[in-house]
C-alpha cells in the first residue's frame, strides 16, 4: 500500500483494520444518536396522540414555506458534503475546498432561517416558556403550549447538532488545507459527512411532523 505508515495507530495491525474500526465506531455512535432523537419523537407521538386537535392547530401556526426552504437548503448541503467526500477520496483538494465551504454556508443559512422563524414566534407571542403572554387562537391553549414547547425542544436540539456539524466542517476545511495524510483525511471527511447526513435525516422527519401534518 502506498499510504504512509504514520497514519497507523499503535493498537492496530494494519490500515484496513484501522479503517474498519473507525467506520464501524462512527456508525455505532450514530446508532446512539438515532435512539437519542427517537425517544424525543416518542414524546411527540404520545403528546400528539393525546391532543390531536391542538397539534393540528399548532402546525398551522408554523411557517411551512420557511420550513420547506430550509429542508431544501439542508438537502443541498448534504449533496455538497457528499461531493466533498468524493473529492477528498480522489485527492482533488480544490473541489473539496469548494464543496466543504458550500456545506458550511448552507448549514449557516439553515440556522439563519431557523433563527428568523424563532424571531417570528417570539413576535407573535408563541414562546410559552418566556415570561410573557402566550397567544393561541384555538380552544386548547394549554395543549398549545405543549406543542410549542415540543417544537422548540425538538428544533432546538436539532439546531444544536447542526452547530456541532458546522464546527466539524470547519475543522475539515482546515485539515483539507493542511493534512499530509490522505488516508487519514479521507476517513475524517467520511466521518464528518456521516454525521452531517444524520442531522439531515433527523430534519427529514421533523419537517413533516411539525409543519405539515395538518
Amino acid at each position: 500500500m502506498s499510504e504512509r505508515p504514520e497514519a497507523l495507530r499503535f493498537q492496530f495491525e494494519d490500515l484496513d483494520q484501522q479503517r474498519a474500526a473507525d467506520e464501524f465506531g462512527m456508525w455505532v455512535f450514530l446508532l446512539t444518536e438515532v435512539l437519542f432523537f427517537g425517544a424525543l419523537f416518542l414524546v411527540y407521538a404520545v403528546a400528539r396522540w393525546n391532543h390531536p386537535e391542538a397539534f393540528i392547530d399548532g402546525s398551522h401556526l408554523l411557517n411551512a414555506t420557511l420550513g420547506t426552504v430550509n429542508t431544501a437548503i439542508l438537502l443541498t448541503s448534504s449533496l455538497a458534503i457528499a461531493v466533498a467526500d468524493l473529492a477528498v477520496r480522489e485527492d482533488a483538494r480544490r473541489l473539496a475546498r469548494w464543496m466543504l465551504s458550500a456545506t458550511l454556508l448552507l448549514g449557516l443559512a439553515f440556522l439563519a432561517v431557523k433563527g428568523y422563524e424563532y424571531l417570528l414566534e417570539y413576535r407573535h407571542h408563541r414562546v410559552p416558556f418566556l415570561d410573557r403572554p402566550f397567544e393561541w387562537p384555538g380552544p386548547d391553549a394549554r395543549e398549545g403550549r405543549l406543542f410549542f414547547n415540543l417544537y422548540f425542544a425538538m428544533t432546538g436540539l436539532h439546531a444544536l447538532h447542526l452547530v456541532v456539524g458546522c464546527g466539524l466542517v470547519c475543522a475539515m476545511l482546515w485539515l483539507n488545507e493542511r493534512s499530509r495524510l490522505p488516508a487519514r483525511l479521507t476517513a475524517q471527511v467520511r466521518a464528518a459527512g456521516l454525521y452531517w447526513h444524520f442531522v439531515d435525516v433527523v430534519w427529514v422527519f421533523l419537517f413533516p411532523l411539525l409543519y405539515l401534518v395538518r
Binding site: 474498519a20 467506520e23 464501524f24 456508525w27 455505532v28 450514530l30 446508532l31 438515532v34 435512539l35 427517537g38 425517544a39 419523537f41 416518542l42 407521538a45 404520545v46 396522540w49 393525546n50 393540528i56 411551512a64 420547506t68 429542508t71 431544501a72 438537502l75 443541498t76 448534504s78 449533496l79 457528499a82 461531493v83 468524493l86 394549554r142 467520511r190 459527512g193 456521516l194 447526513h197 444524520f198 439531515d200 435525516v201 427529514v204 422527519f205 419537517f207 413533516p208 411532523l209 409543519y211 405539515l212 401534518v213 395538518r214
Partner: protein
Amino acid sequence: MRALLLTFAALLALLALTVWIGSLELGRVTIALSLGVAFLKAALIVTVFMHLRDAGTMIRIAALGGFLWLGVLFWLTFGDVARRDAGADAPLEPTLVPPRDGKSSGSGE
C-alpha cells in the same frame, strides 16, 4: 457523482411530494403518507449519501438496529398510551372538590 446528483433530484421531488400531501389536510392519512415519504427520503440519504450500500453487514445492522429498537420503544409504550381507560381523563386542574358529575356520585346511594 451521477448517483449523488440523481439522489439529490429524487430528494427534492419527494420534498415537493410531501409538501403537496401536507396541503391536502387529510388528517390521519396525512401522517401516514408524510411518514412514508420521510422514510423514503431517509432511506435514500442513508443508502447513497452515507454509502450504506457499500458497507459491511455489521454496519448495516448498526444502521437498522436503531430503528428496530425504536420500534420496540414505540410499540410497548403505545401498548399503554393507546389502551388506557378512556374515562380516566381528569379536568386539567383537579379542583379541591372534584366535580360531582354522574361518575362521581355513589351509584349505590
